[in-house]
Amino acid sequence: MSSNSNNSLPGGITTVGAKMLVALTGIALILFVIAHMLGNLQIFLAGEQLNEYAHKLKSMGPLLWVARIGLLSVFLTHISLTLVLTRRNAKARGNLTSPEPQIRITGERYINGYSYKTATTASRFMIHTGIVIFLFVIYHLMHFTISPEHPTPMPADSLIDVKKMVIDGFSNSIISGVYILAQLALAGHIYHGASSALQTLGLRTDSTKFGVSKLGILLATLIGIGNISIPVCVMANII
């Protein structure tokens, strides 16, 4: 039945409050993604620009760890809250008490499905794109940060050729394919997420409405093109 205290989230946080944290962490992650992309795009610049940038980051010492831990906690907060909310939403959906098995399999609450009038595909599959991004991030860290040739974290003063590593990696079309798919998922996630975050934070008003609605598509396009351009250019031998 309804009016059940089990419906409340742990720690007395409301769904609205939780969503606001998701929005804030999401914005932080978008900022990180933008910074990360700008860093990576230095690969298009001549000479050792990218490598110098990488080494500069590496030589930040304890600050690097502060940044890493900060990023990790933002990332985990974002993910854990969305998982909690998604599970709660799945429960909120149902009063369907049919024994028919196909309903359980599709996860749909209406037997013939719901015909969405306006919801975008991106908005409906946030949790899915999110999971893809999460898996990708693990892969990505394994691939470049904790690469197979370096089972332990690389010492800060070791000078490796990041540019070469990127080019070597993306020369493999499977790896490039994985990256491109993941970036599409990221673009989709940001497409809905960026605008949605501002709405959740109450920043969409009459005067900001247009900007907020277009921000998602703008960021998704820029980040998508920016990130995908690297493997594509590597494979096309432009870099």
Binding site: S2, N7, T15, A92, R109, Y110, I111, S123, T200
Partner: protein, 251 residues
């Protein structure tokens, strides 16, 4: 006159299992409302000695908010209106003869019977603060305070909500945010609602959670399903009110 294949949800009571039941309804005129088509089905069933399909309805003018139903996968059917104001010509013109009818599905709306659901969660949300605390006889003259027309209009747009629950039924998360935000926004835009604004939004949001409605992920499907065109702008207003309330609590 047309005939339709109707698949409609039957469920004896809150704790029984339900299933879709098939019926053929004949002799349907395009000028009939969707509910009149169901009346027709029920007359047939009753004549056959069967129990009619239970569904909520009352004013049949699109204002009381009693009628519900998800028709062919959409709250209140394919048009932006209430089920009682949906007419069969809408199906006739689109050459649709297969119609599925299901109740609003949400944990916060337990099924009572067939397509009738219990929407008393909405009442409890209003009881949590969707009012102005003024006792009868305490009011100053009605024109003592002028209210700028844009504010009055915004408040009115939000106040047009009929509490039907189509927003919850359309939302993938069964979130009641559009409903809650409509009331928060109505009162937040009026000076009368000012004194209690912080307590109101917090208390209503808490109750919304307790009632088991989902969280808002800004799909916008609620607005599209709303027969009274309540805007998701109200959700932004609720979010702002919520932040103001939290800040108000800290400072």
């Amino acid at each position: 006159m047309a005939a339709y294949n109707i698949k409609i949800w039957r469920q004896n009571g809150p704790d029984s299992n339900g299933s879709m039941e098939r019926h053929v309804v004949k002799g349907i005129d395009g000028d009939m409302s969707f509910l009149e088509m169901l009346d027709h089905l029920n007359e047939d069933l009753e004549e056959q000695g069967k129990e009619p399909v239970a569904f909520d309805h009352d004013c049949r003018e699109g204002i009381c908010g009693a009628c519900s139903l998800v028709i062919n996968g959409q709250s209140h059917g394919p048009e932006t209106t209430t089920t009682c104001q949906l007419h069969m010509r809408s199906f006739e013109q689109a050459n649709i003869t297969e119609i599925t009818v299901e109740p609003f599905r949400a944990n916060g709306f337990p099924i009572i019977r067939d397509c009738v659901v219990d929407r008393s969660g909405f009442d409890r949300i209003i009881q949590a603060g969707g009012y102005v605390s003024v006792n009868t006889g305490n009011a100053p003259d009605a024109n003592a305070n002028a209210i700028a027309k844009p504010d009055a209009d915004t408040a009115f747009d939000a106040a047009a909500c009929i509490g039907c629950g189509a927003c919850v039924a359309a939302c993938k998360n069964a979130s009641a945010m559009l409903f809650v935000s409509a009331k928060v926004s109505h009162l937040a835009h009026l000076p009368q609602g000012d004194a209690e604004r912080h307590e109101r939004v917090e208390s209503m949001v808490n109750t919304m959670d307790r009632e088991g409605f989902g969280s808002c992920t800004n799909y916008g499907e609620c607005e599209a399903a709303c027969p009274k065109s309540i805007s998701t702008d109200n959700i932004a207003t609720l979010n702002r009110e919520f932040i103001r309330a939290k800040i108000g609590r800290i400072t």
